[in-house]
Subunit: 248 residues, 2 copies
Amino acid sequence: MTYCLAINVENGLVFCSDSRTNAGVDQVSTYSKMYRFGIEGERQFVVLSAGNLGTTQAVISRLKRDIKDGAEQSLKTVESMSDAAEYLGEVNRAQQEKHSDNTSANFEASFIIGGQIQGEKPRVMMVYPAGNHITTSKDTRYLQIGESKYGKPILDRILTAKTDLDTSALCALVSMDSTMRSNLTVGPPIELLRYEKDSFTGQHNRFDEDDEYLRELKKAWDARLVEAFVQLPPIDWQPQSPDESHEA
Amino acid sequence: MTYCLAINVENGLVFCSDSRTNAGVDQVSTYSKMYRFGIEGERQFVVLSAGNLGTTQAVISRLKRDIKDGAEQSLKTVESMSDAAEYLGEVNRAQQEKHSDNTSANFEASFIIGGQIQGEKPRVMMVYPAGNHITTSKDTRYLQIGESKYGKPILDRILTAKTDLDTSALCALVSMDSTMRSNLTVGPPIELLRYEKDSFTGQHNRFDEDDEYLRELKKAWDARLVEAFVQLPPIDWQPQSPDESHEA
């Protein structure tokens, strides 16, 4: 399994990904799921991947080769983030179809692509296995691929357009931590990338399994939550009304 | 869908359930999923239900009838919580099998049964469609049925054996709120029951859709979380190393 997410707030973008891949529970490996492409000062892309590892690796190779070969369409030539997502969708579909004929195996893969092209606002898109894509909105500031449920509530409670980049990054790490606790097939190293609007460069951190900061963050967050409960309005309990109980 | 959970801490038990049932998205109704049985001062049971509504209603009817008819085995006669779960499992299986022959429809139902019998500790069990059951442990203080993923992280971060009953109850409400935000087929009224060890009675609250307290709690919790982020250790960002970026 996988958990990747991207956040789009007014000041920029945040990307976060785990690095665990597995086929069953006893074939577990570590692969980065975060790829960066760009021309410093001109265009920056971050791609996050989920799904069949053969497909995601083939897709990323193709993206690199198209750039290297000076292909008509590549991340170097696309004119908008929306074109970039369209292009990634086509590559994704082509790679899946290559092997789908003679087997019932699942070659599906999903991607998140985000970044900024000079003259455009920063944007984030999610590319489905079918090749189509969606983007964030005023009300929905994030996109997720993979095991998305455990880490969703904290994003819903915290993220708005005005959330600053550092809080967004912390929120992504807490969301990732919630997911790792509950799904063993999501695991470290964790990669985190912070992209400030109009910077056309990024800041990237990688947290290994025994990372001191990640441990400290987890501990601090757990402690803050316990404290938060103390400040909540107390429940005004009603005695159990006897007529609602079924006398045994 | 459904979300029900039960918490087992040293001082007692907490039960929480939603009340939405649906077949598709345009056939939505409200049914309580929390049932109480007991003899004040002697034995108390709380049953939470998830799954096929025909099955859960038939199971609860049968539990009531067995008590009323003075059957050899009923919640009035079982000698332990474990026997109670075994009995509920048999009733559940029998009701599912009644209709399963001529259709591919899914009649499965799951239950949580918790409570206390004089002379025993309070206990909580989860009864599977197959009739078997599991209970909580020293490390796992809660059980969930239905849409369990969204509400799980907060339970994992907060609950220990020593958590007091009021915090446990607030934690259950926050877990329920997280789930309701993310899954439309989990909805109010929310029922909450607090059982103090050796009390052999309970306190029960029901929160409707427009409940003032629930709104206040949600607002307070969101505010506390935003504050909590401010106190977290800041990330020590590394500049993006150019050799790791793929030049477009």
